[in-house]
Symmetry: C3
Subunit: 351 residues, 3 copies
């Protein structure tokens, strides 16, 4: 991958306007080799200004150039790459400087590939991978070292699995998906019928006969789990982004472009709308529906359906532990307090 | 595995009564090839009716037959498989249609097996597995691709490890256990002695010398962790079912038939009784005891022993974020509010 | 590893005083082969007494010897190994009896090692490992079976990776670090720029160009994830200990000797001080700072910076579910209750 670009290159590729404030001379042939924050950028780095809190850092940056809005040009001591949306421009430019090793096409000799699997010539199957019967691996797919692809899985073009991903049998993954290491897709949903009558067998396993269908342009974080459906499939829409250590239970449906941060758990058959943002460590109980454009704040528990878009929260604020202990005790006495206040009010009315 | 059965087969294998309401002709030779929900079932599928909320779907199902209680026969437009416990019957039948690949007996040539390991001839050791010294693998065990079995582990008959499971040294696993991908059994407990005096080494590791003992008919979810004991063993009873991404710390003991949902964490030396149900994302602190038949609701924190069976909860309800913010601020002021109410009450009494 | 020691050996190696109370004869040549709790210790085990709650067990122990403070000698029926800090002495002695298999130096023939990687002769590279280009593996490092080491990683001397660890490219790990199975270090941070305007691409991935720098004497638990930085590095200080299933997001900085228990999640760019203790299942939001010597209790959510050392909590106490339901409903009505109390107070004042 090319790792040096001139400012003129960058401006042209990303439709940015290269200019400087009065007195700053801009050399469009200046060569840059990376992105950096305003404070750590060297003279061969590009930086970006997307948050007014960093204006001081903008004013003293050593970057070669800064991506910013037109209204910040006067604060910038170096070349400007002017954009209506500097943060998005930064995101797009970041792809230029990624050093993630590209997979070379071909099947590593240590991989174990079933004869019935169909693997595109342009795909890269890493060392110690296992590709099972009837799996279909499309063009330009990368399967990272040590990954396991179960029977009859389908993996769409340009999808990238990092090392040590597990895909159970019968999972369908779209195009341009990224899955991080340790993720497990298609494990059994947690379904059991109680059988505790005399002679019963305890928890009787409900074999999980559904699959998982993952759309296009999905990203799935490290050590995240997505269970297969009990009968129907678990479904992840297009453009969904899921962070690390997330649990998605059987038959959950996630609408397009919803974002789910780390450590969140979503119980069975919950349906999440489109364009939702679920913050970290949220819990969502099973068999409920969440509308489109709902935002859930960190560590909240959703115990029922949410029919209207908006932001929702649960929990309490953080306090020093001794003060918190008093509040926590009082919480348990709240119902009686309400009754006492009602008695006082009634007394006042009567007197 | 056979994948087609007649309704007569199904009825006989699972002791169900095949019949139809008046006017519905039942052909006991009808062939079925799968299970499906009432709404998605085709004419070659069986479905089940175990929740009155789906009565509408029952009345319009296209299934070949529906498993149901006798009192629902009149609502069923197709053949009925009558059971006292339709949900349990469904669970048992689900095993018939599972397409999980069975492991063929034998050791894959890419597996690395220590010469001192004892592996039953009927066991299946998948590609890229490692079986360490003195491990004992019993009849019909399947060790999925890429799994690691440490020194001197014992794995009981009919146990099934999916791909990429890690079992540290000295772990004992019972019979008919299922362990999902990414699970780690026998990792070190989080034990350290502080040594921050002058010349100290900081956190001094307490080497974890105990093991893990897992009973029979246990299921362990994907990416779940069960730590080895510090001195004695961590113990998981018979029939325990554990979901994905659960943390079980060193020296925890889980009683028989307890169920633990995803994202729950149980701290060191906690003892959980039998037949408990721990919902998702629960936290249980260390060194406490929980009685038999205790139910903990989702995302609760258990900070002390629970001596009586029953259901327990903590946390607050979900609200729109602006309203929640007000409540959260008020929570911190609860103790002073109680004092104000007491003052009002005392004033009323005195006046 | 030697597995038998005389009491005299132990006393000398760990600077303990071997003695007995009046009437207890001490044989310094007694041979011991393990550590055990006071109640389960046999006559060939050492035990320790560090918690007064176990005095009864001390008085009836069958251990060969007990590590204890001088003031407990009179309660001990067997030989004493006297220490000012018995718990620390126990921790140090535990290393003697660990049966964790040491790795034999050398590269397993099934490992796939890039020709440009530099691997010390004393290092042990296990079966089915992958060591990528330009990786540097120092003396006495053990890389457990099935682990993946990305391009240009550096792994310091005496570091031990258990089976199936994943290290992405460009990660630097210090000396004497322990990483447990399933941990993923260097996965992409969860960074995306929204691009939902017409013709936009949805969540535009911000390629994560930073690395991860891990200090010396760090321990990282099973299935824990540490993301690489967006531009700068994610940094874990010396002596930090991290339990299982912890999420550490991009650009987090953890100060030296901080301890983080299982199931905790720390969001992007949070900076945690030195010598903090973060209990289990804590959530810490992004872009905040926590001072040194802060303690956060289990399952708390930290939503802002903490500038002073001390203990902090959030959440509510556990209650029986019916009582909890009432409190939870009342929580949502708190703001109005405060207004009602204010009205009562104002009424009293006015009357």
């Amino acid at each position: 991958m090319q790792s040096c670009f001139t400012l003129a290159d960058i401006a042209e590729r990303f439709s940015l306007r290269l200019q400087g404030r009065a007195g700053v001379s801009v050399n469009s042939e200046t060569s840059v080799n990376g992105l950096a924050t305003l404070s750590s950028a060297s003279r061969t780095n590009i930086s970006f200004f997307a948050n007014a809190a960093y204006r001081d850092q903008l004013q003293s940056t050593n970057a070669a150039a800064v991506i910013l809005k037109a209204n910040a040009i006067e604060d910038c001591p170096v070349a400007c790459l002017v954009s209506d949306n500097p943060y998005l421009a930064y995101a797009k430019i970041s792809a230029l400087f990624d050093v993630l090793p590209a997979g070379a096409p071909g099947i590593h000799p240590t991989a174990v590939v079933d004869a019935s699997a169909k693997i595109a010539e342009s795909a890269c199957i890493g060392p110690h991978c296992v590709i099972s019967a009837d799996a279909v691996i499309a063009d330009n797919v990368v399967i990272g070292a040590g990954s396991y692809i179960g029977d009859a899985c389908q993996i769409g073009a340009n999808t990238y699995l990092h090392a040590r991903v597990t895909i159970y049998h019968g999972v369908s993954i779209g195009e341009s998906v990224i899955i991080h290491s340790g993720a497990v897709i298609g494990s059994d949903g947690f379904g059991f019928a109680p059988d505790f009558s005399q002679g019963g067998t305890g928890w009787c396993k409900i074999h999980q006969l559904g699959g998982v269908v993952i759309g296009n342009r999905v990203e799935i974080g490290a050590n995240t789990c997505i269970d297969r459906g009990a009968l129907d499939d678990t479904v992840i829409g297009d453009g969904v982004i899921i962070d690390n250590l997330v649990q998605i239970a059987h038959n959950v449906k996630i609408g397009d472009n919803t974002a789910i941060a780390a450590c969140t758990g979503i119980a069975g058959s919950a349906e999440i709308g489109k364009n939702c943002t679920i913050a970290g460590a949220v819990g969502i109980v099973g068999h409920i529906r969440i509308a489109d454009r709902v935002h859930i704040t960190a560590k909240s528990l959703v115990t029922g359906s949410i029919n209207n878009s908006g932001s929702y929260s649960s929990g309490t604020a953080l306090s020093p532990t001794p003060a918190w202990r008093k509040s926590a005790v009082r919480f348990s006495q709240l119902d009686s307090l309400f009754q006492r206040v009602r008695a006082l009010e009634s007394n006042r009315t009567n007197s």
